[in-house]
């Protein structure tokens, strides 16, 4: 089935081969229409004015909150906080929970394949509070090297990715979550890459916090989701101050609003949040079973094609087990930027660089990698053209 027809960019740019979906996905027409429709029919500020239009806009905004709650399997929609992106969600937790609940010498446990957005907020907390930041090692399949002894009584917070943006690996989180909870530590899952490829159930996972971004899952830029367990969100102090997050303001003090509004200061990205519902509904209409089966087939096809090139080295898992459709590689004697430049000349978009994962790159001695990341709308023909272009790039430099 041709899913590209759902995405107008492929009609405007028929030659485009877009293999940079881990950076951001393309947007289907239903999402673009939803945004236009919001501004044409509903535009008003939410949660404030007493008029009918504000009420309708508020209802639409809150409908997305319910849709997101259903999407990740929580029954409490007030456990969903809208942010700008996953990065802001992690910063919110590090600032609010971290500052209030962590003390000097407490340990925050991360892994060496975290995105910078799940490292820097904790290093900033280290600067403010003197916490220790420790990293789990990664094996060659992109799995955490973990046993329960790595979580000690000092470990108060664990923050890990649900899927690597460099290796494409999907690590097994359950034993780590169980071990963290056994020692009373809280755990945040960075689901920024995972959420578009796999169903998530926060109750089954028993995650304390979980974050993701709308723009990587066919939705608009500028909208992120922070899920947090009710009892944690309730005891956390506000992050940003301003309108909406307060109940009352006096000259010398304020009382914060209830959750989730306590964490949504100022006018949010209303059109983006309303539009995000259309993206989740679009995913739901196709279904994760179908999305996953297409993406697994495309991943296997890509891995086989790339493995057949003797001068190309795959970085990360070599099979489709415990992974999704993000594939990093290096080519003998050719810098990843030159690979990306060559492909760009053929209208093929891939990513080259350290992918905001400098710690993993340094650990594995890689200056940079090239990365293909697939969505279900990609085709085998896209991959064949990319592989053909890679062969041409190799010939050009040798």
């Amino acid at each position: 089935m041709d899913f590209k027809k759902d995405f107008p960019i492929f009609q405007h740019r028929p030659q485009l081969i877009y293999l940079d979906n881990a950076a951001t996905s393309q947007k289907p027409l239903v999402v673009l229409d939803a945004e236009k429709d919001y501004y044409e029919r509903l535009n008003s500020n939410i949660h404030r004015s007493a008029h009918f239009l504000a009420e309708e806009a508020t209802i639409a905004y809150e409908e997305t909150r319910q849709t997101v709650a259903d999407f990740i399997g929580t029954e409490k929609k007030h456990e969903i906080v809208f942010t700008r992106n996953a990065t802001e969600g992690i910063n919110l937790v590090a600032r609010s929970y971290g500052d209030a609940c962590l003390q000097e010498s407490d340990e925050v446990l991360l892994s060496k394949m975290e995105h910078h957005s799940n490292i820097v907020p904790w290093l900033q907390l280290k600067e403010r509070k003197g916490v220790n930041v420790r990293y789990l090692d990664i094996d060659e399949n992109g799995q955490f090297v973990f046993d329960s002894s790595q979580i000690t009584s000092k470990t108060k917070f664990v923050s890990l990715t649900g899927m690597s943006n460099i290796l494409g690996s999907i690590p097994d989180l359950k034993p780590i979550i169980a071990a963290a909870h056994a020692k009373g530590a809280k755990i945040l899952i960075d689901a920024c890459q995972l959420a578009v490829h796999s169903p998530i159930n926060v109750q089954e996972l028993d995650a304390d916090f979980l974050v993701f971004s709308a723009h990587k899952m066919y939705g608009p830029t500028g909208v992120g989701v922070l899920y947090g367990k009710e009892e944690l969100l309730k005891k956390m102090p506000p992050f940003l101050g301003g309108g909406e997050m307060i109940q009352e303001v006096f000259e010398d003090r304020f009382t914060p609003n209830d959750i989730p509004q306590k964490f949504e200061a100022g006018t949010p990205n209303i059109s983006g949040v309303v539009t995000f519902k259309a993206a989740i509904d679009y995913i739901g209409k196709i279904g994760f079973d179908k999305i996953r089966s297409i993406e697994q087939e495309l991943t296997e096809y890509t891995l086989n094609k790339l493995s057949a090139l003797p001068y190309l080295k795959l970085i990360g898992p070599k099979t489709t087990d415990n992974r999704s459709s993000v594939i990093s590689f290096a080519m003998e004697g050719i810098h990843p930027h030159d690979i990306a430049e060559g492909l760009s000349q053929k209208n093929i978009c891939i990513r080259a660089g350290h992918h905001c994962g400098q710690i993993l790159m340094d650990t594995w001695g890689l200056p940079a990698t090239a990365r293909i990341s697939l969505a279900f709308y990609n085709t085998k023909d896209d991959i064949e053209q990319a592989v053909h272009a890679l062969e041409e790039v190799y010939k050009y430099f040798h």
Binding site: D338, E341, P367, A389, Y396, F397
Partner: protein, 123 residues
């Protein structure tokens, strides 16, 4: 496929100034972390004038060709002349169109060269 102009490819594949192991009096390294490019510039000076240039490092074809071609440009120039070099002069030296996304690659070696001389004047 014709990714870069021939002069860029030639200087990338067969650099003239790379890894000359000068008995350098000045040495300075710059990195373009997001790309993974690194250039270290080694200079010999006589008074205010650059008399020998070498570089080491790794990176994309544009960053490496630019670092090599900069040797032709910089040798014989005074510190003052080098500090006045602009990005436009580097683009002219390369002789190809440099897109916004590749400007950091093209200019990394100039940054290393100029900072080498700025560092040196602080001592």
């Amino acid at each position: 496929m014709d990714i870069y102009a021939q002069n860029i490819l030639d200087r990338y594949k067969k650099p003239f100034y790379k890894d000359k192991k000068l008995d350098a009096s000045i040495r300075h390294k710059e990195a373009n972390h997001s790309c993974g490019d690194v250039v270290e510039v080694d200079l010999q000076m006589q008074g205010d004038k650059v008399t020998a240039y070498s570089f080491s490092g790794n990176g994309c074809a544009i960053s490496m060709a630019s670092a090599d071609m900069l040797g032709d440009l910089a040798t014989g120039l005074t510190k003052k002349e080098i500090l006045k070099l602009t990005k436009e002069e580097i683009y002219k030296m390369l002789g190809i169109e440099i897109s916004v996304r590749r400007s950091k690659c093209a200019l990394l070696s100039l940054l290393a060269l100029q900072n080498a001389l700025i560092d040196e004047s602080r001592h």
